[in-house]
Symmetry: C2
Subunit: 122 residues, 2 copies
């Protein structure tokens, strides 16, 4: 049935596309945005610097970090406050594992979309 | 590897969720919104009445219809202008086929999400 769906459409570049995220208790808390934020926190050692690189407000970045920490068994972002250098943030091993899980999840989703695009356009 | 991802998260209701749409030449033109709009056009015989039921602006509804007609080999929404009753709109057989394709696509996506949720939480 689906193999003939392409005849309903004009000539052109058609595809099935989508987005994906993790929810905890109905709240979206993990997806491409938080992954990028975590990676930039690790790179810069600072939530604020990471937010700036993403052109995201500090408030939004802290909100993402807080949502993530609230869902995680162990904190994903560790913020050292005080001390001579005035703190700095890093991400935990658990955050790296979650990022790695997300990368593999995205690969499976990419395959799903590619297969659906093949069926749509084939 | 993924089967242990749940230990990174707190106790709670976790799931993988997402959204899906069709793109033509990079433009999003079909998904749950347009499907609902088409079904309501068929039900009411009117784009404006359908928009109202969805609490969508007329402008937005007409834009969705125009985008859809622009991507389709044959018009998906047929608007009869003039005449004694002043027109009225209906959807084509092709639109019904596209809606049916979309329903099956959503079922496959639902299965994908359910399987990923099982892996995440299992």
């Amino acid at each position: 049935m689906t193999k003939k769906i392409s005849r309903l459409l004009k000539q052109g570049q058609f595809s099935v596309n989508g987005s994906l995220w993790l929810e905890g208790d109905g709240l979206r808390f993990f997806g491409p945005g938080p992954v990028e934020l975590l990676q930039l926190i690790q790179e810069t050692g600072s939530i604020n610097a990471a937010a700036k690189k993403m052109q995201m407000s500090y408030k939004k970045a802290w909100q993402l970090v807080n949502n993530l920490n609230a869902m995680a068994a162990q904190p994903m972002v560790i913020t050292a406050t005080g001390g001579e250098k005035g703190g700095g943030s890093s991400i935990s091993d658990e955050a790296m594992q979650l990022i790695d899980y997300h990368r593999r999840l995205r690969e499976r989703f990419k395959k799903f979309l590619e297969e659906e695009t093949r069926q749509l356009t084939g």
